[in-house]
Symmetry: C2
Subunit: 736 residues, 2 copies
C-alpha cells in the first residue's frame, strides 16, 4: 500500500465501500430483517460495518475490511489468478499478501461481498432476490488525489506511463485501459494532424497522397494498439483475465445438465437455439437502417429542397427545420432502437456477462454507424453523383409548399439547380468539429450544471422545510444544512457521501464508443477535409481531461474491473479502417483531379468500372498491407510481454531443475549398474558363457539380441572392430 | 503399453531406435573415437546399445531404453508439458509414468537422445558438429501392424476415430493430424460430390446455385476443420504444444544479449533486420510469377497456335510439343525456384524451426499456386475474353514456321479462328482427373518399383561379387545372400533394417501441400465442371490408403512429432477459399446464362462494371458469411474440448477448495473475535465508556468513526432504529 492510498482512506475515514440500502418500497419489519441479514453476511466474511442514515428512505452501510480477512481474500484471489494463468508464480501464504494497489484492495473487497458463498464471498447481488433493498455498492472518491491530478494534467500535453499506472491503481484496469487507449490515440494523432495540415495547405482536399498515408496510419494504429494491449495486460498483470468468465445472474437455463466429466449440475441453454435467436439481428439491422435511414434521408431531402430550390418567404427560418427535425428525431429513434437492441440481447440469453456485452456492443455499433456516417454517405455517394436525377422528384415538397405561397416566387427553376460542391466538406466539418464540441458540452458541462442546480434546489427545499425545526447548528454557515441526526464531526463527510449516492454509475463503454466513432470519421472521410485529424487532436486533449473530470465529479467512483482489452471496440476499429479503405478510394476517385465539374456542379466522367476497379485495388492493397503490418508487429515483442515471458521461463526452469536434481540425488547410489567397467576383457570364454546361459534359460530372440554386447564399452570395441575390418576404399578389389 | 505395442517391439527385437553411423568419409581412428563418444553418451542417459554392421561404410547402432530411465524421462517430459500448459494435472512421480502410447515412448526416447544436456538429453544432433557421422536416427517399422491396417482399410469407406487414434499412437500426432485432415476432407466431399453430380446432370457447368453452395461448403469446411483441430488437440493432449518452440540449430545470432529478467545470455537476431530480409519475398514472388508465367504462357500460346491456327504438316506430332515443353520446363523451373526459396529462407535466419517452416511453406505455396492455377487462369481470364485481340500476335510463330512450309498451306485464315469453348472445361478435367492419377503414380507406384528394382540390382551385384567367397549359408534359399558377418538368427532382421536405412525421410508437409492444392481446384474452378468434387472423392479414397502405403513402404518410419494443427496450410486453405469467392463469381458471370457466344466463340456482353460489381458483392458476401459461420462455430464447443475444460475446471476447483479448507481449519479457534455476542446490550454507559476511551487516547477521526458500532448486531440495531424512526410516507406532513 503506497502512502497515497493510505491518504485517500484517511480522508474517507477508512471506508472501503458504501452500500446504499433503500427501504422505501418495502415493509419496515421486512427491511429491518433484510438489513440484519446483510450485516450478518458482511460480518461473516470479515467485513466491519457502520450504519448511518442516507436520506428519508435509505441507509448508508459503510464497509471496511479487517486486515486479516483482506489478506486471506487477496491470497485466495491470487491463487485463483494463478490457476487461470493470470499470474505466473504460485502465490505462497508466506509471501506478502497485502493488496498491491488501491484498485486491487477494492476489487478484492468487492469480491468478498459479491462472490457466491462457495467461493468465499457473501453473495450480495444488488437489486436481486433477497438483496432487493441493496440498491448500490460503490467505493468513495478520493477527492484530494482527483483534484491534484486534474490540476497536474491540465498543464501537460501527454500523460506519462506513470500517470496511466496511477489511474489504473485508483480506478482499476478497465478505466486504465480506456485512458491508455485515449492517450495512445492522442499521441498517434500528431502525425496525421501535421501531415493533414500540410496536405490541406499544399494539396487541398481529396489528395491521393493524404488518403494513402491516412489508410496506412489507420492500419498501423489499430495493429499498434493490439500490441499495446498485450503489453499493458502484461504490465498490469491481467493477461488472460478475460478467460475467467463470470456467469450472468439473468441467464435463464433451459435445462439442467449433469456434466459427466466434472459431475456438476449446471444450467444449459443450447447454442443452436441462441443462434436462431441471434438471427433476429438481421431484421434488427435492417429495421435500424430503414428507420434511421428514412429519417435522415427525408430531412436531407427537405434541406436540399429548402436551401437550393426554395426561394419563397421565410427561407431564413425554414432552413432550420431539417436540422431541428434531425436533432429531435434521430436521438429519439436511436433510443428506441437501443432499447430494442437491449431487449433482443436479453432474449439471446447469454451465459456470461462478457458474451452479453460483446453482443450488445455489436448492436449498438450498428445504430451508431448509421446515425454517424449515413448523412455523409448520402451526400457523397447519392447527392453528388445522382442529384440531377433525384432533385426533380423533390417536387413532392413543392406540392406541400404550394398552398401557402404563390407559384412563381416559390421555386427556383430546376435548370438553375446547382450541386453545392462545398456541401460535403461542410458536412464533414460539422461532424468533426461542431458536433464534437456540442458532444463535449452535452456529456460534461450540461450534466455538471444540472447536478449543481439540482443540489441547490434540494437544499433550498430542505431549508424551507427544516427551518422551523432546527437552530442548533447555525454557528457554522459553511456547513450544509441537513435534517439528519448526524454526529457533528461527520456531517461534512456524510453530506459528501449522500451526494455521491445520487450520482449515476459510470460505464466505460460509452466513452470507448465515442472514440471509436470519432476514429471512424478519420478513417472514412478525412480525405474530404484533411484538417480532421488536427481537429481531433485538439479535441482529444480536452476529451481526456474532461472524461477524467466526468468520472470524478459526475459519476460514482467505479468498482475496479480487470480487463486485458478494450473489448469488441477493437474489432469495430478494425472494421472502420477496412471500410475506410473502400470509401477513401471511392471519394478520391470521384472528386479528385478533375476540378472542372459538369454543368450542374456534378463531377463528370465517373465511370462505373473505373470506380469499382479503384475500390477493388484499394481494398485488396489494404488487406495485403494489413497482413504485412500484422506480421511485422507480431515479430516486435512489446517490452512488458518479453519481461513476462522471461519470468515464466525462469519459473519453469527452476521447477524443471528441481525435478532433475531430485532425480540425480536419488540416483547416486544405484545408477552405476549400467556402466560396465571399461576394462573388462571380452574373452571368447565369457561370450561362450553368455551363450550357454541363454540356451539354458530358453531366452527369446529379442533378449538374445540384446545380450551380445554388455555396456557401452563392449559395443564400442565391437564397432571399432567392424570399422577396422573394412578395407580402405582402393583395397576392396585387391583383397579379392 | 498395449498388447499391440509389445507385439511390435517383439518383432523388432525390442529395438526402439536405429542410429545409422557412417564412417565412410572420415579417418578410421577418428570414426572409432566418435563412435565411443556416441555410445558413452547413450549409456549416460540410460540407453542400451548394440552395434552391428550396416553396409561397407556404416554401422547400425540399435538403441533400447531401460525401463527405469524411460520412466524418468517420461515423467520429466510430462512435467515440462504441465509447465507449458499442455497437460492439465501436475504429474506426480507416484502416478504411472509408463508411456501411454508407442508414439509417446518413441518421442521420449528421441528426446533422451537429442535434447541438450542441461535438459537431460544426450544432445545428439545428426549431421552436426561432433555428430557428423550420425547420418540418421529412426525407429523401425512395425510391419505386421502396418500390413494388417492396410488390409483392413482397403475394405472400409471411412476410417473410424479409433483408426485415427491408432495412427496417432503409432506415428505420432503430426502424421495423425494429416490423416485426420484427409479423412475429414474426404468425408466432407460427399456432399459436394453428390450435389455437384446433380448440378452437372441438371444444370450443366457455370450454375449459380452450384457456385454459391460450393463457396459456402468451402467456408464451412475450413471453419469446421479449425474446430476439429481444437478437438483433436484436446483428444490427443497436444493443446498449446506449438507454444513449446524448439530452437533451430542453424540459427546464427548476430550478437549475444544478456536477458535482464532471466539473467541468461542468448543469441539475438534483430527482428527488423529479418523483416528487411523478408522483403526479398516480394521480388521472389515476382520472379516466380514472371519465370513460371512466361513458360506457361508461351507454351499455351504455342499450343493455341498449333491446335487452332496451324494447318501444316506434322500437326498430329507437333501438337505434343507444348505439353512436352511444359512437362519438362515447369518442374525444372519449380525446382530452381524452390531451391531459391530455401536459400532465401535460410538467409532470413529464423530462430525457431516452427517459424522457419511457416516461412518456407509460404514461399512454396506461391510457387505451387502459380504452377497449379495459372494455366486455368490464363484460359479463363485471358484466352477466352481477349483471344480475338491476342491471337493475331501469334504471327510470331507463323514467322518461325514459314521457312519450313509453304505459306498458303500452313496457316488457316485468321477469320476462321474460333475460340474453343470446351478448352476451359477440358483443362479443368485434365488438372482434376488426369493430373491426379499421374500424380498418384509418380509419388507412390514409380518409387516403389524403382526401389525394388534397385534392391534387386544391388543384390545381383553382391551375389556376383560374393559368390566366390561364401558358400556356408546356401542351405536356406529364402534368405537373402549378404556378405556381412551377421549372427545367423539375425540375418533376416538385419537385412530388413538395412533396407529401411536406405529409404528416405518422410515429411508430412508434402502430402499436406498436395491436398491443399487439390482443395484449391475445388474452391477456384469447380463451377466450370461440377464433377470435380466427385473426382476428388474417388481420388482421396485411394490417396488415404496410398499415402499410408507410402509411409510404410517407401519411407523410414517417422519420428513421432507432436503438433496441434496442420500449420500454415490451414491459412492457405482459407486463402484459397477466399480467392475462390472471387474467381467463381467472375467465371459464373462471364460464362453462364447467355449460351449464345459471339462470332469467334467469345462470350458477348461482358461489361467491366458488371463483372467488377459481381466480384465485389460475391467477395463481401463471402466475408460476411465467413464471419457468421465463424461466430456460429465458436459457439459449438467440440466434445473433447469440453471434456478438457471440465478437467481443468475440476483441477482448479480441487485446488481452491483445499485452499479454503486450510483456512477455515486454522481459523476455528481464533476467528470468533469478530462476532460480538449478539445479546450484548448497548447501554448509555458502554457508549460513554467508548467515548472516554477515545478521548483518552486522542484517536483520529477515522478510528472514531468506526468505533460507534461494534459488531454487526449493534449496527443492525441502530439501522433498525433509523428505519423505524422514518415517518410513514403520508405522515411526513402531519409530523410538522
Amino acid at each position: 500500500m503506497t502512502a497515497n492510498t493510505e491518504n485517500s482512506q484517511e480522508v474517507n475515514l477508512q471506508v472501503d465501500y458504501v452500500i446504499h440500502y433503500s427501504f422505501g418500497g418495502t415493509d419496515k419489519l421486512q427491511a429491518i430483517e433484510q438489513l440484519e441479514k446483510l450485516l450478518q453476511s458482511l460480518a461473516k466474511v470479515g467485513l466491519q460495518a457502520e450504519v448511518r442514515q442516507g436520506d428519508e428512505v435509505s441507509l448508508l452501510v459503510f464497509v471496511k475490511a479487517s486486515e486479516k480477512h483482506l489478506k486471506r481474500a487477496v491470497y485466495r484471489s491470487r491463487v485463483r489468478d494463478w490457476l487461470y494463468g493470470i499470474r505466473n508464480a504460485e502465490p505462497t501464504r508466506s509471501n506478502s499478501t497485502e493488496p498491491q494497489t488501491e484498485a486491487e484492495r477494492l476489487r478484492v473487497i468487492h469480491q468478498m461481498m459479491t462472490l457466491p458463498e462457495e467461493e468465499g464471498g457473501a453473495n450480495i447481488t444488488p437489486g436481486h432476490g433477497q438483496w432487493k433493498n441493496v440498491s448500490a455498492i460503490f467505493p468513495l472518491h478520493d477527492i484530494e488525489t482527483n483534484n491534484k491530478w486534474m490540476r497536474e494534467w491540465s498543464k501537460k500535453t501527454f500523460l506519462s506511463e506513470d500517470d496511466l499506472d496511477q489511474i489504473r491503481n485508483k480506478f482499476g484496469e478497465s478505466v486504465g485501459f480506456y485512458f491508455s487507449f485515449l492517450q495512445s490515440y492522442f499521441r498517434f494523432l500528431i502525425f496525421p494532424a501535421v501531415f493533414g495540415f500540410s496536405c490541406w495547405f499544399l494539396l487541398g482536399g481529396f489528395s491521393i497522397i493524404y488518403t494513402v498515408v491516412n489508410c496506412l496510419w489507420c492500419i498501423i494504429f489499430v495493429e499498434y494498439w493490439k500490441r499495446q494491449e498485450v503489453d499493458l495486460s502484461c504490465r498490469w498483470e491481467t493477461k488472460n483475465v478475460s478467460a475467467v468468465r463470470t456467469k450472468r445472474r439473468e441467464f435463464k437455463p433451459e435445462k439442467e445438465v449433469c456434466d459427466q466429466s466434472t459431475g456438476e449440475v449446471h444450467g444449459v441453454f443450447p447454442a443452436t437455439k441462441r443462434m436462431q435467436r441471434q438471427l433476429l439481428q438481421i431484421p434488427f439491422a435492417l429495421l435500424a437502417a430503414i428507420a434511421l435511414g428514412a429519417i435522415i434521408a427525408t430531412c436531407f431531402a427537405i434541406e436540399i429542397f429548402i436551401s437550393e430550390l426554395y426561394n419563397g418567404p421565410l427561407k431564413t427560418y425554414l432552413i432550420f427545420i431539417p436540422t431541428i427535425l434531425v436533432s429531435a428525431l434521430v436521438p429519439t429513434m436511436s433510443a428506441i432502437l437501443s432499447s430494442i437492441a437491449t431487449k433482443l440481447n436479453d432474449y439471446e440469453n447469454h451465459e456470461t456477462s462478457n458474451a452479453y456485452d460483446v453482443a450488445l456492443t455489436q448492436k449498438v455499433f450498428v445504430i451508431n454507424f448509421i446515425t454517424s456516417y449515413l448523412p455523409i454517405f448520402l451526400t457523397a455517394f447519392v447527392y453528388v453523383p445522382f442529384a440531377s436525377l433525384i432533385v426533380p422528384y423533390l417536387d413532392v415538397f413543392h406540392l406541400t409548399v404550394r398552398p401557402f405561397v404563390s407559384k412563381e416566387h416559390a421555386i427556383s427553376k430546376q435548370s438553375h439547380f446547382q450541386i453545392d460542391p462545398a456541401r460535403l466538406r461542410n458536412q464533414v466539418i460539422y461532424f468533426t468539429v461542431t458536433a464534437q464540441i456540442v458532444g463535449f458540452a452535452m456529456e460534461t458541462i450540461v450534466p455538471y450544471i444540472k447536478q449543481h442546480a439540482l443540489r441547490k434546489y434540494k437544499k433550498y427545499n430542505k431549508e424551507r422545510n427544516g427551518k422551523a425545526e432546527r437552530s442548533d447548528d447555525k454557528e457554522s454557515p459553511e456547513r450544509p444544512v441537513v435534517s439528519y441526526d448526524d454526529p457533528a464531526e461527520e456531517v461534512k463527510f456524510l453530506t459528501r457521501v449522500r451526494n455521491e449516492v445520487e450520482l449515476s454509475e459510470y460505464d466505460v463503454t460509452d466513452d470507448l464508443r465515442e472514440m471509436c466513432i470519432q476514429f471512424g470519421y478519420l478513417a472514412l472521410f478525412s480525405p474530404i477535409w484533411p484538417l480532421v485529424p488536427l481537429s481531433f487532436f485538439v479535441n482529444n486533449w480536452v476529451e481526456l481531461r474532461s472524461d477524467f473530470f466526468k468520472i470524478c465529479m459526475e459519476f460514482r467512483r467505479p468498482v475496479p474491473l480487470r480487463t486485458d482489452t478494450i473489448g469488441p471496440w477493437l474489432d469495430s476499429l478494425g472494421f472502420l479502417s477496412w471500410v475506410g479503405s473502400i470509401t477513401s478510394a471511392a471519394l478520391v476517385y470521384m472528386f479528385s483531379g478533375n476540378a472542372q465539374h459538369g454543368p450542374n456542379g456534378e463531377p463528370t466522367d465517373i465511370k462505373g468500372w473505373a470506380l469499382l476497379l479503384t475500390i477493388f485495388f484499394s481494398e485488396h492493397l489494404y488487406l495485403i498491407v494489413r497482413y504485412a503490418v500484422r506480421a511485422a508487429m507480431a515479430r516486435l515483442e512489446p517490452p512488458n510481454s518479453r519481461k513476462e515471458r522471461g519470468e515464466r521461463y525462469l519459473m519453469r526452469k527452476r521447477y524443471l531443475e528441481s525435478t532433475l536434481h531430485a532425480e540425480t540425488d536419488d540416483d547416486k547410489d544405484e545408477s552405476e549398474g549400467i556402466y560396465i567397467p571399461e576394462s573388462s576383457e571380452i574373452s571368447r570364454a565369457s561370450l561362450e558363457d553368455d551363450a550357454r546361459h541363454a540356451s539354458l534359460h530358453g531366452v527369446d530372440p529379442a533378449d538374445r539380441f540384446w545380450m551380445h554386447q554388455q555396456g557401452w564399452a563392449e559395443s564400442a570395441k565391437i564397432g571399432a572392430g567392424i570399422i577396422q575390418a573394412q578395407p580402405v576404399k582402393g583395397a576392396v578389389k585387391k583383397q579379392q
